[in-house]
Symmetry: C2
């Protein structure tokens, strides 16, 4: 199959690209390299079945060029950092919603009808039901990031209804593992690298969060694409557990053999729009036979090990 | 209070403008007159407390100009026709989502913190629960119009969370009454005017729909603004009944003393993304003491009477 992976030089996008190539697919990857790292494509570029387009999907002409002859789109390109919405109130809408619209329009104009989309568990806002299922009560949004992803989900569903597309939409918890380049483990590791004696934590450390190892995430995507044949297939992706920020700090520090002084900014939320409890019900995905192989702790440790053995990643940010 | 009414020359916007002026408020109205009709402002322009800005909210400079000194925004401007999304896949996002973003940014920059928003019951997609409450199971979207309104709702909620705004969001069923300019009664009346002997109906006539009389809608808005003091206040607005398209046709024809031959296009949906059953649970709004005064039949008859006695409206479309 001829696959288009948007955001192919990103953390999850590059990992997916490698998996698709290994499975025998042809992959056209597109990335604007604003946050993606070319070194993540070192393995992909060894395949003759891989082609990289350095392009910007905010321009419909680039989206159209990338879409030629594509059978299946994996739309991973995004502004992926949930925390800075209020500082850039238009960025998420532009990079997540409008870019998705360009991808969908390019698909329509080229007759490509299958799209996999990387959405987020943050579309549940401050959920009222835990673990939170896909059909939880209609949530009130709390972050620009989540709104922009929810709007993209909606556009995809409307193209499915209006133009006969098929979609697989995945609402991720935070993803961890090799090639991880942003998020709390990155921030903590970065702080400890600069000064191992102290660590500043956003919030009170009691926030309950969920994480999933990147290879488990890719496993789920591959299984769902094979087995779920509805028009709009929506799946939560996470493990059957959650941890507190304080647990995560303990695991990171133990892995690094450090005992920093902890300094909390305080409050139940780490930032504006932060959800103090994220725990998704993944029974729908598990019903297809998928099981994550790594626990949250395993995933966090794998991430620390990756950052430790790849100092160039820290330097590239 | 100094109020900004966007889409002030539209059906609902102009009716709201009149009500606000009567209640003693100063109203700055803005409209690009793409679908709004200046004659709907004949009454408003008699007030010295009314000012009209002919402007386009797709331009942030126009939004900023209109927002000076405003205490409360009533955001009614929209592409309000749900039916033609697939023919113009970007229009709803531009006119409903991005315009709302401009309004919110102008509010933030001017320090205006209260917004009332005209959303739609179509955000429930093809609902699974009837009557459908505000916290119904997280729906899958089916139309570009609904997606664009849902994204606007989400942006408003994110501004409430991020910047301390307060919002009142109303999910309307179809609104009927004086100054009605588009929708099924308009289309049927228009057809019968051209040829009273036949009537073409989109779908099979069995679709179950809900309608609300415009003055009842405005009543609800005024009551909710006074009584609901949460950060994000979301209300369904409709009557406690629904009707079939065939009922509506019978009432319209009886009112006009016509017996046209009926010709159905067939199928459960009138158009792509049409929901075959819309019936909202409005208990939350009713708990504030609001009761609609007109039944659906009353509202449809008032609409027919309005169109009959205002032939210039048909000529202006």
């Amino acid at each position: 199959m001829r696959c288009l992976v948007t955001g192919c030089a990103g953390f999850i996008g590059s990992t997916l690209t490698d998996r698709l190539l290994s499975a025998g697919h042809t992959v056209i990857g597109i990335d604007n390299l604003s946050t993606g790292l070319p070194r993540f494509l070192d393995r992909a570029t060894e395949w003759t079945s891989f082609e990289l387009i350095h392009g910007n999907l905010a321009r419909i002409s680039h989206a159209l060029k990338a879409m030629r002859g594509i059978d299946q789109v994996f739309h991973m390109a995004a502004n992926a950092d949930v925390r800075f919405g209020t500082a850039h109130p238009r960025r998420d809408i532009e990079q997540n919603t409008l870019v998705t619209h360009n991808v969908l329009e390019a698909m329509r104009l080229h007759g490509t009808k299958r799209i996999m989309f990387a959405s987020t568990g943050s579309v549940y806002g401050e959920a009222q039901v835990f673990p939170t299922p896909e059909n939880a009560p209609f949530p009130v949004q709390t972050s620009f990031y989540a709104v922009s992803k929810l709007a993209a989900e909606g556009l995809i569903a409307a193209y499915c209804e209006g133009f006969g597309f098929q979609s697989h939409i995945f609402r991720f918890v935070s993803i961890l593992g090799e090639r991880y380049t942003h998020g709390h483990v990155f921030d903590f590791y970065s702080q400890l690298l600069a000064d191992p004696s102290k660590l500043k934590i956003l919030g009170d450390g009691h926030q309950r969060k969920s994480y999933l190892y990147v290879q488990d995430c890719i496993d789920a995507i591959m299984i769902a694409l094979e087995k779920a044949d509805g028009r709009v297939n929506i799946f939560n992706l996470g493990t059957n557990e959650y941890c507190r920020v304080d647990d995560s700090i303990r695991w990171i520090c133990e892995r690094l053999n450090l005992k920093p002084a902890l300094e909390y900014t305080g409050g139940a939320r780490g930032w504006v729009g932060d959800s103090p409890f994220i725990f998704l019900d993944c029974a729908k995905m598990r019903s297809l036979g998928w099981r994550p192989k790594l626990s949250i702790r395993d995933g966090i440790e794998a991430t620390v090990d990756f950052l430790k053995s790849n100092p160039w990643v820290m330097e590239s940010r």
